[in-house]
């Protein structure tokens, strides 16, 4: 319905250019003998090709390269290593991908080791975003594992001169029909030098027959985290390493006029200047901030809009030549057929990701080759950024991503990596840069703010006849609803964002669902209809109906029989994006003094066949908790080029005391392929809570956050 791209302006519009062009001989030279099964990158990107442009990342639309996208290597000692460019940031894909491979190889998950996100040893990957790991990487690794198993079974059968069909894997060993003969993975892989691309006709285990996936395998390296042993980027230490810090501009958008002549401060410290970049490096982290403060620089500020004029600014700067969506039917006819019309505007604020591990990077130059450890969701993209910044061929840049302290879409870019590398180049020593919380809040990027105008027409019997939806700046994700409305005009209008903006968990799906599901609630109120029945009346999609009904049933919805308790109310919302379906019910109380409290949430979620029930429940629950912040109180405040609440003491995130009882209802569709779950569960809460506040107070709130300082008067 809309052909506008999603706004993710701060992602590089390049990928696919970085190809891993190992040939097979090189492959074995690097990895020694054994058996390697290669997953062509086209298999991983193929499903995305149809969706080209939607994510704005480009690349997918090019000719798909026949390169390697992942592989499984069974070494001569029998160890099983899986190589993927995906990044672990808490979504537990290290565990779920292990399950996929273990299932098809028919071995204990503990025998499998995942090597992730190291540009020198893992194949190219566009990045870990868009809930793509589960629907694309997992099935391909399954195929590779089946091919590996079948190859080894054939080898065993050959050795024993039996039919391959009589060879099985029992207790991680290959056995013949009566178990009188057995061989280990090492026995079979020893002396092998076999590289295979997975055949097209490989048959993986049907979801209904899963025994490893579909179970709640605990986080594979959980012990590393509870003991504090896991090394995040910010924990790494290299021999002779210095700590670095960037001297930031006085305000957002300011440019450097002049700075002191740069001099060695003392033997252990250095100030580095290159164009507008000024940074300091020292061996003593305690003095780092003080050292940065001694650099005097003059900056020229530029005019910057603030919160007060934000939404006008977004409308005013919308590009009139962009954002035309293709209409469905005729909205004019739809409005003519309507008994009632409703026109409202909804807004969402900029919010910050606040990953608990701030951006961090350790950079080291050895023999003119740059290695950077950094927490990013796009290791290969950051490699490209570094190569460009330092005028190096990509072969001379290596990016390694240790399992990272979360991202939520906020760690797509490589500025911290570039800063560390620039300081390391100047000081000729490894340098670690860890952004302060204040830098995270100021110099990273935000979830886009947006204005959404909705105009609708409805018949008295509850049938929606017309739907016009204009989104300014926040983006296109889930801009098209699933309601069956014959006449629609849905448009996205890109604007000039005053603040740097980019991906955030779920992208614009939160804003678009908030506007749509609030407006739908307003229509049901206008007609005095049950909001659940009103939705179902206009909705044929079986999967969305199913989650909506699942949530309502567990919640005990009962609109007709509801008791009206002063200051209490319930609300409902539903949504779909990226293969995930969500239904959310919320109950709120509004106390004297206008304090809003979420008392109870029931959320149902369906994303096809469930890979790991416990981790899925954790993921959905976490999304609900994160959503509480954006729904009720999170907003970036800014004026005159300054972020006014750039600290955790001023920017409120959800805490223990904000969390209600949350019940998660997982709908397992073993007949459907698995989709990702990291994003879509976040979209239902804000409208459900807003609708519950309306039910409790009669006050309709149309701006996120809904109640930053209690109910607005």
């Amino acid at each position: 319905m809309t052909d506008a791209p999603e706004v993710e302006r701060y992602e590089l519009q390049q990928d696919g250019t970085y190809q891993f062009d190992f040939d097979r001989r090189q492959f074995m030279k690097v990895f020694g003998g054994g058996l390697a099964l290669l997953v062509p990158i086209s298999n991983l990107l193929g499903q995305d090709a149809e969706r080209q442009g939607e994510s704005g990342r480009g690349g997918f639309s090019r000719n798909l390269p026949q390169e390697i996208g992942a592989w499984i290597h069974i070494a001569e000692d029998g160890s099983i290593n899986v190589y993927t460019g995906k990044v672990e940031l808490g979504q537990n894909i290290r565990t779920s991908l292990t399950q996929a491979v273990a299932e098809e190889l028919q071995v204990e998950p503990s025998m499998i080791r995942l090597v992730m996100a190291d540009t020198d040893v893992t194949p190219f990957d566009a990045g870990t975003f868009g809930s793509r790991t589960t629907p694309t990487m997992a099935p391909q690794l399954r195929k590779a594992a089946v091919a590996a198993r079948e190859t080894l079974v054939a080898l065993a059968a050959q050795q024993w001169q039996v039919e391959p069909g009589t060879v099985r894997i029992v207790d991680s060993r290959f056995v013949n029909h009566d178990k009188t003969k057995s061989l280990s993975f090492a026995d079979l892989a020893k002396g092998l030098k076999l590289v295979k691309t997975i055949p097209a006709d490989v048959k993986t285990t049907p979801t209904k027959e899963w025994t490893v996936a579909g179970t709640s395998l605990p986080k594979v390296d959980g012990r590393e985290f509870v003991t504090g042993r896991h090394k995040y980027t910010s924990d790494l230490k290299r021999e002779g390493m210095l700590f670095g810090k960037v001297v930031r501009p006085s305000t957002l958008g300011a440019t450097l006029i002049s700075s002191d002549p740069i001099q060695e401060k003392d033997a252990g410290s250095q100030v580095v200047k290159d164009g507008d970049f000024i940074g300091v490096a020292t061996a003593d982290q305690q003095t780092l901030t003080r050292l940065a403060g001694t650099v005097s620089a003059r900056w020229k500020p530029t005019e910057q809009p603030g919160n007060a004029e934000l939404f006008n600014h977004l409308r005013k700067t919308a590009n009139p030549n962009q954002g035309r969506g293709r209409p469905v039917g005729s909205v004019a006819d739809g409005f003519a057929a309507a008994d009632k019309q409703l026109e409202q505007t909804y807004t969402v604020a900029y919010i910050a990701h606040v990953p608990l591990e701030p951006r961090a990077a350790v950079a080291e130059w050895v023999d003119n080759k740059l290695t950077v450890w950094t927490g990013t969701q796009r290791p290969f993209g950051v490699r490209g950024e570094l190569a460009e910044a330092f005028h190096l061929p990509e072969a001379r840049v290596r990016v390694i991503v240790p399992d990272t302290g979360s991202g939520y879409g906020g760690k797509h870019t490589g500025e911290c990596a570039i800063e560390a590398a620039r300081l390391a180049l100047a000081t000729k020593k490894p340098v670690k840069v860890v952004w302060s919380r204040e830098e995270e809040f100021t110099w990273a990027y935000f979830r886009p703010a947006g204005v959404i105008d909705v105009k609708s027409g409805v018949k008295n019997d509850g049938t929606i006849t017309a739907w016009e939806f204009h989104n300014y700046n926040s983006g296109t994700s889930a801009i098209d609803g699933k309601y069956d409305i014959p006449n629609q005009l849905v448009q996205f209008h890109p604007s000039q964002s005053p603040l740097r903006q980019g991906s955030y968990r779920g992208l614009a799906a939160t804003a678009n669902h908030f506007a749509r599901e609030t407006h739908i609630d307003e229509l049901s109120a206008l007609l005095n209809l049950d909001p659940l029945q009103f939705r179902l009346h206009n909705l044929k999609d079986e999967r969305l109906r199913a989650v909506l009904e699942a949530a309502a049933t567990r919640f005990g919805w009962g609109w007709g029989k509801r008791k009206t308790v002063a200051g209490r109310g319930v609300g409902i919302a539903c949504g779909f994006e990226k293969g995930g379906y969500v239904g959310t019910c919320a109950e709120v109380s509004v106390a004297a003094g206008a304090k809003v409290k979420i008392e109870r949430v029931v959320e149902s979620f369906e994303c096809g066949a469930i890979v790991n029930p416990k981790h899925l429940e954790n993921q959905v629950e976490g999304a609900v908790v994160m959503a509480i912040g954006g729904a009720l109180f999170e907003a970036v405040e800014f004026a005159n080029g300054n972020i006014l609440n750039s600290r955790l003491s001023r920017y409120r995130v959800p805490r223990f005391s904000d969390v209600p009882n949350i019940e998660i209802v997982l709908v397992d569709r073993k007949d459907l392929p698995s989709a990702g779950s990291g994003e879509t569960p976040i979209v239902g809460l804000a409208p459900a809570v807003g609708n519950a506040i309306f039910a409790a107070t009669g006050k309709r709130l149309r701006s996120l956050p809904l109640a930053p300082k209690g109910l607005p008067s």
Partner: protein, 158 residues
């Protein structure tokens, strides 16, 4: 002020030579390579840097090392004894009380502090005690469960 020469850390005496005004967080992470204690905000708002001083949870990011030189410091690395996890560490694993894991050490140290003072905390008591620790991944309910599990285990053992 004279430099600090020794610290009582996880049951051992360790030798150092540090300006007493240096933050305990920097001392642990950079000088003693105990990186389980994390930086999250630098202003005692997130709890990622929580350690125990004589059994009491404190925020190491705003604590000068000079103030704790004569006290017992316990970090996340000091909880595991002879390969045996602390009951709360076990409970975090059982309850799946983490996603990215960055807040986990601070959560566990705050939880250990609570359980040492209150063997059977109610849910409200857990929420009140833990409210200064942030988990951005939103695993709070699981952390509450983990603390309750560890409390039951400890309670049962007595």
């Amino acid at each position: 002020m004279a430099n600090i020469k020794a610290l009582n850390l996880n049951g051992n005496k360790v030798t150092v030579d540090i300006d007493p005004q240096t933050s305990l967080l920097i001392v642990l992470r950079n000088y003693l390579n105990l990186t389980g204690t994390k930086y999250g905000c630098g202003e005692a708002q997130c709890g990622a840097c929580t350690v125990l001083i004589d059994g009491q949870a404190i925020r190491s990011c705003i604590t000068q090392v000079g103030k704790v030189a004569d006290k017992q410091i316990t970090t996340i690395e000091g909880l595991e004894k002879d390969g045996q996890l602390h009951p709360l560490q076990e409970a975090f694993l059982k309850a799946d009380a983490m996603q990215c894991g960055y807040c986990t050490p601070g959560m566990i140290m705050s939880g250990v502090d609570l359980l040492s003072k209150n063997r059977q905390p109610t849910r409200d008591e857990i929420v009140r005690h833990m409210d200064r620790n942030v988990c951005r991944c939103g695993t709070y309910l699981r952390i509450i469960t983990a603390i309750q599990m560890a409390a039951e285990r400890k309670g049962g053992a007595k």
